[in-house]
């Protein structure tokens, strides 16, 4: 290496106080990231021989243009939104709960137990109430276990919650093929009794009302309650929380109980609102997608409504795309992957700036 070697062409500088990007510019970058994502996303669409502009049109039209499409889109958004709300307090605490999927599933199992055993035997209102409570308790237990081990033995919550997902999914598979199997060999649980179906409001299962109420509750919980304050302090510094006299272990367990309960309720909404039976594909991965939603909305409960809706639109639209233009739905998944990547990636350019080598230095060094 020569002593007169050049200074690097560019370097990254973290933005610090007084140098933060203006909100307008940040918004512009976010919009630009979506545009770039759409451009990049058109490549796989073109490879299948379709016209990308038309395909994007179909996605929007196919998810929003009429009541049936819209209802289906909302159906997809509901559990996604509830799971995102569930994860938010954990992430605020820097407790990386990626077990929403498992908490949802175990909640659904508990809920299904009552649906199967009480369906048609008691009035619909009570059975739904019992199912909801069972789901919340089941999810809470599933969330509490990793919370307990983290608080007592400082185990790694990321791995723990992840592994718990597979246990819950495995249990559903076993129930499907074993105790709860309908006709032998089908590996299917028969559809539940009608009394376990959630009523509809404006033609969509009433879960959307529950989800919106939860948005407000979670927003208030995180911003105005003592619990929310404790969670925020722990997320910033464990030692500060201890210094302030907080019982860190208990707060972790409590937050995981709550998060798990919300995930369980998401499971109940899928079960009683649309699926009406239980199978291992019940969640459709919302527990994982919810992580992205939480993160993209920067833990703001109201922004989560928009992000969940956006992802639901892509998901529903891609099904229509498949039917109308023969574009495989996996291509639509690639497009939504590109979109998420760009949206998360653009945060980097909002928080950092790129500084290029100055001309004069270049001349001197050369």
């Amino acid at each position: 290496m020569s002593e007169k070697s050049k200074t690097p062409l560019f370097r990254l500088v973290k933005r610090v106080k007084g140098d933060m990007m203006s909100p307008r510019k940040a918004l512009a970058i976010r919009v630009a990231s979506v545009v770039i994502a759409l451009i990049l996303g058109s490549i796989p669409i073109m490879l299948t021989g379709a016209n990308p502009v038309k395909a994007y049109g179909v996605i929007v039209v196919g998810s929003l243009s009429n009541a049936i499409y819209l209802k289906q889109t909302i159906k997809i958004a509901i559990p996604l939104l509830v799971c995102s709300l569930a994860i938010a307090p954990c992430f605020k605490m820097k407790f990386w709960n990626i077990g929403a999927e498992g908490q949802l599933m175990f909640g659904a199992i508990c809920s299904a137990f009552f649906a199967i055993n009480l369906g048609g035997k008691i009035p619909s209102f009570f059975i739904l109430l019992i199912m909801a409570i069972a789901a919340a308790l089941g999810g809470a237990i599933w969330g509490f276990i990793p919370g307990f081990f983290k608080a007592k033995y400082n185990t790694n919550e990321t791995l723990f919650t992840l592994m718990m997902n597979y246990i819950a999914i495995g249990m559903v598979k076993w129930l499907q093929g074993g105790p709860w199997e309908g006709r032998k060999g089908t590996q299917l649980v028969p559809t539940f009794h009608k009394s376990t179906f959630l009523p509809e409001v404006f033609g969509v299962q009433c879960g959307w009302i529950i989800a919106l109420i939860l948005v407000i509750i979670v927003h208030i919980y995180m911003n105005y309650t003592k619990h929310g304050y404790e969670v925020a302090v722990i997320g910033d510094s464990l030692n500060t929380a201890r210094y302030a006299g907080m019982n860190v272990g208990w707060i972790m367990m409590r937050t995981m109980l709550l998060s798990g309960a919300l995930c369980g309720i998401a499971g109940f909404l899928i079960l009683a609102g649309e699926n009406h039976t239980i199978n291992s594909a019940l969640s459709g991965g919302v527990g994982f997608t919810a992580i992205t939603v939480s993160w993209l909305s920067q833990l703001n409960a109201f922004v989560m409504i928009g992000i969940s809706a956006l992802l639901a639109i892509i998901s529903k639209g891609s099904k229509t795309l498949n039917q109308r233009m023969g574009v495989p739905s996996s291509v639509a998944e690639i497009v939504s992957g590109i979109l998420l990547f760009c949206m998360l990636g653009c945060e980097f350019f909002i928080n950092y700036k790129v500084v290029f080598r100055k001309k004069s230095e270049k001349e001197v060094a050369a």
Binding site: S5, R11, H227, A232, Y243
Partner: protein, 513 residues
């Protein structure tokens, strides 16, 4: 003597965001000279030297070595130019020996430890070091580790040595030894830069002093022509008085009685052994000791944050009754009605929540109040407004994240909150570390005010001069044991220095009363 310029900096500028760390700085570093780079914390000393050692690159400006322009892109480039920096925090591998650490990272070096040992011995003999090349780093004292860092730099052939606050972790005796070595290097025609903010050392060892203030180069003076006062004035930018007021409180009473306190860390090592003392009302009890002698553990044990193995910590009420604090959590101590203010060493990591504003930080002490599930923001809001005004905290609003404030303002927020309730016991750890002279004096005055209000104040400090001026008594810790409790009005710096390194020191006269 003819000047022999090794490095010349011309118009160096470095910014971090909108913060200008170095603004158009010109500096000459000569061979055969010790140059002190003097300035308050945050004046840009370390940033400037980091550009010489290849850690940062200047935004603009030029660096010349022996009259030839150079670009320093990495620490490796710096070594190539004969520039070596000894950082405040050492970069050594604990499980390696001294010799292994010294050759670590040298690609073309043969692993011939015999030859390495010879070369290390040669360097040591030349400058008066003492290094055992076979000693493992984890067996070394802080000062020995520092020696290894210096030898490491010399081994790589450095002719220009930069030392960043080398005396911060040393006792007065170790500092003298280091300075003797530096003088030998100077005779050997090396160029030495010493970054410091301690005036006494500047006057003692340097030939020239370059002063920085708020990122700007103020000037270079010959040490012979300078005094402590003239340097301070240059550093701060106007005349400052350097005296701390130390009034006497009339009727001191015992407030906190600690007996046989022993605490053990996770690895089973004793952090405090059989510590006993009494803190009194109307008194500032200083705690001196080399960094890591148990100061942190002592304060945390008193506040219920560090588990106690044995011993007792009793809070003595005005009516003579005792509250035993051992075994209580911080919340239980509060609920028992024992008021304690604690300014911990790690301000953002323990005392405050960096991402929150002043108001929410005030709430750290009151969040539990009331039965409602909602927190009450009114009281912390008015407290935040009061601290903001009374202590002249510079912040755009009480919602502005404290992390983004300057160090001095962060400390004002923390101290302001802790003294707000006039607690009978106030514990402070390194309360003025990193603060400029003005803020430091504000803090000293606040502590003295609390003392005159009848609080029992404990002040863990690192600058002996300040301890001697501010405190009434000084407790000296050495390796987790009390090596003496002395009267701050009569003791000398050298006596404390001795106590800091040995528990066998003469403590007879020192025992109170």
């Amino acid at each position: 003597m003819q000047e022999n310029c090794a490095i010349e900096l011309k118009n160096i500028r470095k910014t971090f965001g909108f913060v200008v760390a170095n603004d158009e700085i010109n500096l000459k570093i000569n061979r055969g000279e010790i140059l002190c780079l003097l300035g308050e914390n945050g004046s840009g000393k370390t940033t400037l030297m980091n550009m010489l050692s290849g850690i940062y690159q200047p935004d603009s400006g030029e660096i010349f070595k022996d009259g030839e322009q150079v670009a320093i892109r990495s620490p490796r480039d710096a070594y190539g130019l004969g520039i070596g920096m000894i950082h405040q925090h050492y970069h050594l591998v604990d499980v390696f020996t001294a010799a292994q650490n010294i050759i670590l990272g040298l690609e073309n070096e043969k692993m011939d430890l015999g030859a390495v040992n010879d070369k290390v011995k040669d360097i040591c003999d030349r400058y008066g070091f003492h290094v055992d090349p076979k000693m493992k780093v984890y067996d070394m004292s802080v000062s020995q580790k520092q020696t290894i860092e210096i030898v490491k730099v010399l081994y790589r052939g450095a002719e220009i040595l930069i030392l960043d606050e080398p005396t911060a972790v040393l006792t007065p005796q170790e500092t003298d030894k280091l300075f003797a070595v530096l003088r030998n290097m100077k005779k050997d025609n090396k160029a030495i830069v010493l970054i410091t903010h301690k005036l006494a050392e500047v006057l003692d060892v340097s030939d020239k002093v370059a002063i920085l203030r708020k990122g700007k180069y103020i000037g270079t003076v010959n040490t012979k022509e300078a005094t402590a006062q003239s340097l301070t004035d240059m550093m701060v930018g106007r005349a400052v008085t350097l005296n701390i007021d130390r009034p006497v409180y009339d009727n001191p009473k015992d407030r906190l009685e600690i007996k046989g306190l022993t605490v053990v860390d996770n690895e089973g090592i004793n952090k405090l052994t059989d510590v006993s003392f009494t803190a009194r009302t109307g008194e500032i009890l200083g705690v001196a000791g080399i960094a890591g002698s148990g100061q942190k553990e002592l304060l945390e044990a008193i506040t219920g944050l560090y588990p106690v193995k044995s011993g007792s910590i009793a809070f003595l009420n005005d009516d003579g009754s005792r509250n035993e604090l051992v075994g209580k959590t911080p919340m239980q101590i509060r609920q028992a009605g024992v008021g304690m203010g604690f300014v911990p060493e790690d301000r953002l990591g323990m005392g405050l929540v960096g991402s929150m504003g002043m108001t929410n930080n005030m709430m750290l002490r009151s969040w539990r109040n009331g039965r409602s599930i909602f927190f009450n923001k009114k009281a912390p809001q008015s407290l935040a407004d009061r601290v903001w005004k009374d202590l002249e905290v510079v912040t755009p609003s009480t919602e502005f994240p404290v992390r983004r404030m300057s160090g001095g303002n962060i400390q004002k927020v923390l101290v302001g909150r802790e003294i707000a309730s006039s607690p009978p016991v106030l514990l402070t750890a390194y309360a003025v570390r990193g603060l400029d002279i003005n803020t430091s004096y504000t803090i000293y005055n606040l502590l003295t005010e609390q003392k005159m209000n009848g609080a029992a104040v404990m002040y863990v400090g690192e600058e002996l001069d300040v301890l001697l001026q501010l405190c009434d008594r000084i407790l000296v810790l050495c390796g987790g044991k009390v090596s003496g409790i002395v009267d701050a009005r009569t003791v000398t710096k050298e006596q404390i220095g001795l106590l800091m390194t040995s528990v066998e020191g003469n403590t007879k006269e020192a025992k109170d009363e």
